[in-house]
Symmetry: C2
Subunit: 456 residues, 2 copies
């Protein structure tokens, strides 16, 4: 391992330059106009797999964007890791808030800024570089590995369950490894053991059949924006409880042990407030902030639009108004059932003056994993050695729906060893990835292979 480590340490500059090439590709999976970029990005991943020494590399088509697969299976008797990541990225709007171009990677104060730098290209890339280091120095890996990098994570991995189901043999492994999560705080390596699920909906309200003059019709014709606001205002009560009937029925309450563990996690409230520029939080009464953002479900409007949005004043009574509303789920809620409860309630709230359309845009299951397996212990040991700190085990508020799919479809548990930071601004303008975490990430994964091999 000494020479692997020294190889990694002496290749830092090259790694960053290659990562930049990866980040320059605008692989926004939700935009039809970026389809060719997403395809180009899949090719880039495939080339990098080849460069790292993986074999049997394939760009496998799906109904949407392709999955890139590569493997190295030359360690008989040793465990097989299925590494999962994604090469697609979120949209970049609002573009005007970016300090540098979202696809012009820029280094500043020890961070690399670009869309996808932390979520998830930087993290996929560091895993490939761990493989590369072992292969370059030893010509082999201490474990078997399969890489499966998809292009639709940011649009809900819509074709991934089908893909997994139809490639069960190819994906056969002992454990899943994912680097798509964050450190608990800046200097504290962490292993995530729980993830929230997601149920993402859209409401479209239509009132009159055309935009009207608000002077001529205002006062008698119901306004879809006002009615949409009324509906949204009835989704949560003043205690932050979601009011959708049945919403909490399947929620597994946090146990006393879990709540005690939450209390032990470091949390600097003042710094949290300062970082976000807020004076107060608003969440479900009776739970701490950390519990609210990872151990309990929540509901947020992700977007709203209707009527006139330009400068100045237009006296329109609009025909339509829409909102995107998502709910984060915890075990044992399920996305589709939640969508049904949401739809039923929202339709009940909708007045007779409006026509309503409720659409389930996408969803993912919540997940929770056992933290006593040898794979988790190997990951913990690797992080401990690199970061000189015993990693924290924490639940994450975000969703990686595929984790639940791996368990359900392949019977595989996951190790969530991510190197992001909560301040990485993923999904926001000025997304970044800490370069020190990028480099230490390469070392950590390289060591993880070694630790896991030793324990097997």
């Amino acid at each position: 391992m000494e020479s692997v480590i020294s190889f990694i340490n002496s290749n830092r500059e090259r790694y960053v330059e290659e990562l930049k090439d990866f980040l320059r590709i605008p692989s926004i999976s939700t935009n039809p106009e970026n389809k060719a970029d997403v395809a180009r990005c899949a090719q880039y991943v495939s080339d990098q797999m080849n460069k790292s020494g993986l074999q049997n590399i394939q760009i496998i088509p799906t109904q949407g964007h392709p999955v890139v697969y590569g493997e190295w299976l030359g360690a008989p008797g040793k465990p097989t890791i299925l590494y999962y990541g994604h090469y697609d990225v979120q949209p970049v709007d609002p573009l005007n808030l970016w300090s540098s171009g979202p696809f012009e990677p820029t280094i500043k104060d020890g961070y690399i800024y670009a869309r996808g730098s932390s979520d998830d290209k930087g993290q996929v890339f560091l895993n490939l570089k761990s493989v590369e280091a072992h292969m370059k120095i030893n010509g082999k890996l201490p474990v078997n590995i399969k890489f499966m990098i998809e292009g639709e994570e940011e649009i809900g991995s819509v074709n991934l369950e089908n893909f997994i189901t139809s490639h069960k043999e190819l994906l056969k492994a002992d454990v899943v490894l994912v680097s798509d999560t964050s450190f608990f705080d800046d200097e504290m390596p962490s292993i995530a053991y729980g993830l929230r699920g997601l149920c993402y909906m859209q409401i479209d309200l239509t009132g009159p059949n055309r935009d009207l003059h608000s002077g001529v019709y205002g006062g008698a014709v119901a306004n879809p924006i006002n009615e949409l606001a009324n509906i949204i205002s009835k989704l949560k009560d003043k205690n932050g409880k979601i009011t959708i009937p049945g919403f909490y029925d399947k929620v597994r309450p946090l146990t006393k042990a879990e709540r005690d563990a939450y209390k032990k996690l470091p949390f600097a409230k003042k710094a949290y407030f300062k970082d976000l520029g807020i004076k107060e939080t608003f969440g479900e009464k009776g739970y701490s902030i950390l519990e609210q953002v990872s151990g309990r479900p929540c509901l947020d409007c992700n977007g709203i639009w209707g009527g006139f949005q330009g400068e100045g004043a237009k006296t329109v009574l609009p025909s339509k108004a829409s909102a995107k509303i998502s709910m984060r789920l915890v075990p044992n809620q399920t996305p589709h059932q939640t969508a049904k409860l949401f739809e039923r309630y929202v339709k009940k709230l909708c007045p007779k003056t409006m026509q309503i359309k409720v659409t389930e845009l996408h969803g993912g299951y919540p997940a929770i994993t056992d933290i006593t397996t040898k794979e988790i212990i190997a990951a913990s040991n690797a992080l401990h050695k690199v970061f000189k700190k015993k990693p924290l085990f924490a639940r994450e508020g975000g969703s990686i729906p595929v984790i639940a799919s791996f368990e359900r479809l392949l019977g595989l548990k996951s190790v969530l060893m991510g190197f992001g930071l909560d301040t990485d601004a993923i999904h926001s303008p000025n997304e970044r990835f800490k370069l020190d975490n990028f480099h230490r990430g390469i070392l950590s994964v390289a060591l993880f292979y070694d630790e896991l091999a030793k324990m097997s």
Copy 2:
């Protein structure tokens, strides 16, 4: 008058062609990028004044878009009419809902379709053609007339009060004439005797200082869209009453006589619902639809925006959300005082998790006029002769704030003789103007001059 009438009837084709040129100019006053178009439109109005035989024509600059002035004062001892209109138009979005280009005037089924066709270019133009007809046939008018056509009506006539105040001598007259209102229904000529005022506000809410990942922060960080919806939902109660404290304090209740007059107005509820594609209305309980849209104040969201509005799903917890909200006012409410009540209430509703900015975008006073003056009787007689029906007197729901300004600053009452229809879709896609009303409008105004001269 016979030869004036026959001149008008024989020039119909030319009138429409000239009107098309006027409508082709995208004089959207609220868009900075259309500034040159607005200036070009002022020049077009000035040219048309010249063609009609008006004198002392001037394009008078203001702090914003210019006012175009022209006069003919060759009838000593006869009344002087101050005609007011506007050459600016509303924005055109949503553009995709237009069947033909908003600035490519298109004739179909007896209507001319274009932005500004009814509001107010078509109506300004027909008044100029009435002057032209008298001048061409008789070389003179039976009354004195001053035309004052502004370019900022659609942005609240922001510089007009200053203009009136600094041009009191130039604008000296006996009565104001305005053609910017609608017939009560399709075949029923109408004179509007009341107009609602306007108070147009914008709310901007800021929560966290940047867009956040809704998985990482959702559940603890307050969401500006949800909070904006909460605020909007508290502006009206379930009986359609506006809940802003003090809002109704200055509202002059409808008298029994007024309510009886409302009851006598023709109103085809079924056709109204069908035209709008609605099943039910929603307004202030205890008032008829006609009372709700013209005799009582109301509150409408004219626009709302925040977060992700694109295709698909973006899991953002946005930093900002905004709404445009306007209130229509009735006598004796005042815009600025209403804005203060609105601001005070909305700020009180705003939770501590949010920063709020409340902006008064524009406002206008409501107005009500006496229907027994000789000018109103002359207008009524003219309409009766042309349309073969005694016109209705009705209050309008829209706002022409300048009407109140003329009264306050110049001591002048107005005659609101408009030729639009409520189905003209003003401020909406596919705005149109009925060509028959355009041509009969020219006749009506020409006869109005004559009737008024005879009574003076």
